[in-house]
């Protein structure tokens, strides 16, 4: 089913022309995937499927509503770019997904495996429980023995199949001479089965077959919940990555070919259209434009680009088309070198011990000692191996960590589900626990606290006639500053002046003729003004000095609320940015952040985060750019917005799916609540043990008591977790 990856490669002529490593083969069928964020009902499903199936060349198209995706099988020459307009005309937002990046979620073998084992454990435990209840309610002699034998016949194969994950984990731990949570589980299972079988042979009264199976079932349920939570987060994270289909336009003898970025080689000529991102490091050969470097350095002022300038992968081309010659591709680009920094910082995080690991460390040796003591004590008292072994098995089973196994996953599933609804994606298993400990929050500026879209600040200072001319010029350009000016002027009810012959000069601005005089809107140097410290577009009308329209970066929605709420919760809020001092000071003032650092290099950022960590503070880093990745990885826990660069998203523990920053403050609250619930759950589990263990050691525990203790503790723990919803 995954015979052809990246089907549309072969659809472009360049790939056929380009030398291919390996045998060239033309696929007869292409597989495409589209993301459809807007679909929500039956009508959407049938419209999308009808539209797609009616399109020539498509064999089958099927919508998956859960994943909000359409999977399409089509002729190899059908391209996603042709299908998107079709769907947009029908009223659905559609984006192409890179199938190669989605491959991991497509066949979810591990999840399926766990589900099957869970089903078998459930089936077997219910059947054995039925038989056990008959025994507890008074079956005796031959009937009891028969029931025990039937139970044994069901239990052995069921446990051998279902409990495999525990056997495997325990074996890996034991082989390197360590103890983990699975060792006592396996020991309890094996001991329970062996003693029960022995008892059955001797027509004994108590057999723990049902306990062994319920134990397996509850523990598998915990594992499965844990797995599902992470699978959901992983698939959403993969979808974000798959939305950026890595393609570039290669120029070959004057013709344009669309090729995957991975196929680019050093020396290739690449065309980057306005709005496009540099796929590789290179040097500009022709064209003039402006570059947005904010994702790499954090500076908001666009950089003027002309032939000869070196560009790095990840920079965004703003105004005019640029042709660049690749100087470094793939792993050698500066983007990748920076991403490598992350891998180094990442290793530090694995030192964190999760609550579950901490509990297991206390618990595993404890049960073994307890059970061994019970065995030794009873053996010395009665000199009867059978009694001693039975009691040791009862102790192990009753202390077995059903509730412990469910305590953490049940809570994290509930908390992650709640945060996911708010638009937060918890990527890392222990992210919630770490988030709960946070006492310092470090924000990046550009793209994180600010939306990256400029806003005009001094529209009121200009004469109406000037604004009319500026609006006419701005409407002719797609530069972000022009777009912002158009929006602001239109909102103020201004109509454009009748400016003629408007032309956009890439990299400089727009000019035209108004009542016979030349008018210009653009860079300071172009209109003969001095460059100020603030982002500005200058208007020259021929009459008087050039006048600046000043810009400031618009705040991201919820930024002010998030900062205020975090401060109200008693957290230290810091702003560290690579932007100029003026811009950072202004923003810090607007958001009321007293501690800020400007003009920070990427290494400065991570060093400062490290310094805070060394002072014993638990740092939450929120950032989006490449210059933040090292800091994101060095922080105790990190959050990045969905608009962030891939490398930054990978480095962070939590991804914000929406535009709004407000959920950050709430997430801290939810995380603290979740950790509190986890601790409560541990206490509940311990409480049951405190009651049941003395009974087991005294030899009073029966399989009925074990079953009751196990089920009630597991159910209370799950219900307690549900209170979080």
């Amino acid at each position: 089913m995954t015979a052809q990856l990246r089907p549309s490669l072969a659809a472009c002529p360049a790939c056929v022309a380009a030398p291919h490593d390996g045998v060239e083969q033309a696929p007869t069928e292409a597989r495409l995937a589209l993301s459809l964020p807007g679909i929500h009902c039956q009508a959407c499903i049938s419209t999308v499927e009808r539209e797609l199936n009616a399109h020539p060349g498509i064999h089958t198209a099927r919508v998956n509503l859960t994943l909000k995706r359409a999977l399409i099988e089509a002729d190899p020459d059908v391209r996603a770019a042709d299908l998107i307009p079709v769907l947009e005309k029908a009223g659905f937002e559609a984006h192409e997904l890179d199938l190669a990046a989605l491959a991991a979620t497509q066949n979810d073998k591990a999840g399926r495996d766990l589900l099957m084992r869970l089903a078998v454990a459930f089936f077997a435990s219910m059947n054995v429980m039925l038989l056990s209840i008959s025994v507890w309610s008074g079956a005796s002699d031959a009937t009891r023995d028969m029931f025990h034998w039937i139970s044994a016949a069901i239990t052995f194969p069921a446990i051998i199949f279902s409990a495999q994950p525990f056997f495997a984990n325990a074996w890996t731990a034991l082989r390197v001479g360590r103890l983990n949570m699975d060792v006592p589980i396996v020991l309890a299972l094996v001991l329970a089965l062996v003693t029960s079988l022995w008892e059955t042979f001797l027509s004994g009264e108590h057999a723990y077959f049902d306990a062994a199976l319920t134990l397996t079932f509850f523990l598998l349920a915990g594992r499965y919940l844990d797995y599902r939570t992470r699978a959901v987060a992983r698939s959403a994270a993969e979808e974000l990555a798959a939305l950026e289909v890595p393609r570039a336009i290669r120029l070959l003898d004057g013709d344009e070919y669309e090729v995957p970025v991975a196929d680019l080689a050093i020396g290739d000529l690449i065309l980057v259209r306005p709005g496009g991102r540099m796929p590789v490091d290179g040097e500009i050969v022709s064209g003039q434009s402006e570059l947005d470097r904010s994702l790499l350095t954090g500076e908001t002022l666009p950089v003027f680009a002309e032939p000869g300038l070196a560009v790095s992968a990840g920079e965004v081309n703003l105004t005019g088309p640029l042709t660049i010659r690749a100087t470094a591709v793939g792993e050698d680009t500066s983007l990748h070198r920076m991403a490598d920094l992350v891998a180094i910082a990442e290793s530090g995080r694995s030192r964190y011990t999760s609550l579950a690991d901490g509990a297991a460390k206390l618990y595993a040796p404890g049960v073994h000692i307890l059970s061994a003591l019970a065995f030794a004590g009873w053996y010395l008292y009665t000199f009867d191996i059978r009694t001693a072994l039975n009691i040791a098995a009862a102790v192990l089973i009753i202390t077995c960590p059903c509730a412990l196994g469910l305590a953490v996953p049940a809570v994290t599933t509930a908390a992650s589900g709640r945060l996911f609804k708010k638009g937060m994606l918890i990527k890392h298993a222990t992210a919630l626990e770490r988030l709960a400990e946070v006492d310092t929050v470090v924000f990046d500026k550009t793209g994180t606290l600010t939306a990256g879209t400029p806003e005009v600040t001094n529209l009121g200072d200009h004469a109406r006639a000037d604004i009319e001319i500026a609006l006419a010029l701005a409407e002719a350009s797609s530069h972000p500053l022009s777009v912002a000016l158009t929006r602001a002027a239109r909102a103020a009810g201004v109509k454009p002046a009748a400016v003629q012959d408007i032309t956009e000069v890439p990299g400089y601005g727009a000019e035209g003729l108004y009542r016979g005089a030349r008018v210009r809107l653009g860079r300071a140097a172009w209109v003969g003004a001095a460059q100020g410290s603030q982002t500005a577009a200058w208007l020259e009308t021929g009459a008087g000095e050039p006048r600046p329209f000043l810009y400031t970066d618009a705040l991201r929605p919820g930024a002010a609320e998030a900062v205020a709420a975090l401060k109200a919760a008693g957290k230290d809020v810091l702003l560290i940015s690579g932007d100029t001092t003026g811009a950072v000071e202004d923003l810090a003032g607007r958001l009321n952040i007293s501690k800020w650092v400007a003009e920070a290099l990427p290494a400065d950022k991570s060093a400062r985060v490290q310094l805070l960590a060394d002072q014993g503070q638990k740092v939450l880093m929120v950032g989006d750019g490449l210059n933040d990745t090292a800091a994101l990885a060095a922080a105790h826990v990190s959050i990045s917005p969905a608009s962030a660069l891939d490398a930054a998203r990978v480095a962070s523990d939590i991804v914000l799916l929406g535009q709004d920053l407000e959920p950050i403050a709430e997430a801290c609250g939810v995380a603290q609540k979740a950790t509190r619930r986890i601790r409560e759950n541990f206490r509940i589990a311990t409480l049951y043990n405190v009651i049941a263990v003395p009974l087991a050691i005294a030899g009073l525990a029966t399989p009925l008591i074990a079953a009751l203790a196990m089920s009630t503790s597991s159910i209370t723990v799950s219900l307690n977790a549900l209170r979080l919803r």
């Binding site: 039956q42 499903i45 998956n64 509503l65 859960t66 399926r112 089903a119 089936f123 039925l130 028969m146």
Partner: protein, 52 residues
């Protein structure tokens, strides 16, 4: 009590039929799109005759 000789095997067989059915649904990808499948029942496109 001799009725147990029938009842126990019957209950086990019925149980395993259910288990086998579950296995079949998991293996044939029937849990890939629970939300979509719940809505597709409202589709009136193939109401008259089954999809060929």
């Amino acid at each position: 009590m001799s009725v147990l000789a029938y009842l126990i095997p019957i209950s086990l067989i019925l149980g395993s039929v259910g288990l086998a059915a579950f296995f079949y649904t998991v293996r044939s990808n029937q849990y890939d799109d629970p939300e979509g499948d719940a809505r597709r029942i409202l589709n009136d496109e193939w109401d008259d005759k089954p999809k060929p």
